[in-house]
């Protein structure tokens, strides 16, 4: 307690205001390129790595496998193969991003994709339903499973780890019951098979890629202009242009690669973007919009960052928790359909193998945190590519199965370590 009299301290009541200004004024930065780059570097140094590990990983792995298998790895055919290989894991990972954003986990997503694929295959083969009814059936199955998980986690408050571990076992039983022991349900529906095995016409691929690049540029520049004209904080225009250029180059470069004729025999042509890649693109745009530009997305991040704060701010935390499991299981259903399309069949072990670990690994490698509150839909795509390159490259090398397990496990651990270390770094840097 001080000996000051109340009167002396009361003098502050009408006094000028200085410190509050100074404290925030120090944050002001110039919106020029050098300042933006400095900011970005400071952000990276403080542990906010973004997409850097995934992009470095892709570059390093491509270099490694090209060096080891120069005549097979970088061929047009293998690249196209790699993309379709990445599809199921990427879609599964995109759903998991929602769950991981809340700091939860869905260990049953892989087997959920198996169950949903089995439902779809049975509807086509046994009931003779058209493909769209079968797909709808699979998606509804996914939604039901997701709702059940969400309810058990959010309302009953069982840790998601336990709920989904139980379902991981239980759902395998359902797939086994549907498919039959040792059985296989073939998938021969043209539309379903085309998803992972057929390509869109080359011209359509170019048109879509160009439209996407132009659309992205338009949205980014329009947003920049609007913020600039309203006097809001903006990134420097060069930065926006550079970003648009990188995205456009990736889109058009990928299209160029996939538009080469990659048929093994000169008698036929095999070229174009696989339809499944288009599906991932559509899902990526939808998920990015939902997470980044809607109130729902903000609430997902808020619950992942501080659930109590979100609750006090009026966010229905229970509903958000249930919804992310529904989204994850729905996307798992789609992943299951794509996987069934790729393999032309559904087996009792569909989705029960490495798929889930690969998908979690993909999300984490892409930059989604296991601790919640950080992550983007694009992480699933970048991480999915890393996982597919490892899987594909090891296949070409003909490594023994035991080594594949060891290597994939190590990659997941490495990604989780980077995540944990970056988080420690962030908290010590106060970010």
């Amino acid at each position: 307690m001080s000996t000051d009299t109340p009167k002396e301290q009361g003098a502050m009541k009408s006094g000028p205001v200085r410190m509050a200004d100074a404290d925030f004024a120090a944050d002001r930065r110039q919106n020029d390129m050098a300042g933006a780059l400095r900011d970005y570097w400071a952000q990276v140094r403080s542990g906010d790595l973004g997409a850097i590990p995934a992009i470095l990983g892709i570059v390093a792995l491509v270099a490694l496998f090209t060096a080891l298998r120069p005549e097979t790895f970088l061929t047009d055919r293998n690249i196209a193969n790699l993309f379709t290989q990445a599809l199921p894991v990427t879609i599964l990972a995109m759903g998991l991003v929602f769950v991981l954003l809340l700091g939860e986990i869905d260990l049953s997503a892989g087997v959920t994709s198996g169950v949903c694929a089995a439902v779809m295959a049975k509807l086509i083969v046994d009931s003779g339903q058209p493909w769209y009814v079968a797909v709808l059936g699979a998606v509804v199955t996914g939604i039901v499973i997701g709702t059940a998980i969400g309810w058990l986690v959010a309302v009953i408050r069982i840790p998601s780890f336990v709920v989904t571990l139980a379902l991981f076992l239980g759902l395998q039983g359902i797939t086994l019951r549907l498919v039959g022991e040792g059985g296989t349900v073939p998938v021969r529906d043209d539309v379903i098979v085309a998803l992972a095995n057929k390509n869109m016409p080359v011209a359509l691929g170019w048109a879509l890629a160009a439209a996407c690049a132009a659309g992205y540029a338009a949205v980014q520049l329009w947003r920049w202009r609007q913020q600039h004209s309203r006097g809001l904080s903006v990134k420097p225009l060069q930065m926006v242009v550079a970003r648009v250029a990188v995205v456009a180059a990736a889109l058009l470069g990928g299209t160029l690669l996939l538009s080469q004729d990659r048929a093994p025999s000169p008698l036929i042509t095999l070229a174009g973007i696989p339809w499944g890649v288009l599906l991932v693109g559509v899902l990526l745009i939808a998920c990015t919009f939902v997470l980044g530009r809607t109130p729902y997305g903000r609430h997902v991040y808020a619950v992942g960052g501080n659930a109590e704060a979100a609750r006090r701010a009026g966010v229905n935390v229970t509903r958000i928790r249930i919804s992310v499991f529904m989204i994850a299981s729905t996307l798992a259903a789609i992943a299951g359909i794509v996987a069934a399309s790729r393999l032309n069949s559904v087996t009792p072990s569909s989705g029960a193998g490495n798929d889930l670990l690969y998908a979690v690994g993909a999300a984490v490698i892409g930059g989604t945190s296991l601790f919640g509150g950080r992550g983007k839909a694009r992480d699933a795509v970048l991480g999915g590519l890393v996982i597919a390159i490892i899987d594909n490259g090891l296949g070409l090398l003909g490594t023994k199965a035991y080594l594949n397990f060891l290597i994939t496990g190590s990659v997941l651990l490495l990604a989780a370590s980077i995540d944990a270390l970056a988080r420690r770094r962030r908290s010590s840097a106060g970010r």
Binding site: M12, A309, G430
Partner: protein, 250 residues
Amino acid sequence: MTPVLDLRGIDKSFGSVQVLHDVDFVAYPGEVTALVGDNGAGKTTLVKCIGGVHDLDRGEFYFDGVPVRPRSPRDANALGIEIVHQDLALCENLDIVENMFLGRERTRGLSLDYSTMEEEATRVLSNLSVRTIGSVRRPVAALSGGQRQTVAIARAVLWDSRLVVLDEPAAALGVAQTQQVLELVRRLADKGLAVVLISHNMNDVFAVSDRIAALYLGRMAAQVRTSDITHREVVELITAGRSGKLGLRA
């Protein structure tokens, strides 16, 4: 002058434990009312009753002279009551604008209207003489304790609130930051809001408050103008419930 908040004869029990006994409490517009009391005196319970977290057992609740009965935080918010909790309740992974609008986002069609939200947030902050140009998009994790408190307080006044209750806003802050937050508290009152400040720090209380209300074991010992009371008298009211002619009867 009609008080913004006028509580009369409030009783509140949890099971067999009566926490508040016949408490009267008044908060006027344009004034900072300090609510003081020792640990367990009932400050937090009283605040939770004001904020609609707890329902009253007995007593009258007037807001702007109108009898009301907020039964949930949403009811209280709708009346114009905002409470800034001690543990701030900010999401560190979201930026300042997102935190200020959390749960009440502005949208255009399906999409968030970031530009309008940023404009409004900047306007509120500059109205409070907090200049943040170029930095309202920083994540809260990157802010200092004082800046976070500023954001939490600014969020409370974003919604045309009439009464802002601050629960120990300077508890975890350094000297300079405490000063900064107290200046902000004073400015809120100068803008015509009724401000209730809970604090253990007598220096802070005397620095910014116009009235002091002292709780003692769940009873309102006294509510007087800050200029009519001394430091020592307030401490006696807090510790003994009585000081000279002021306070509870023996």
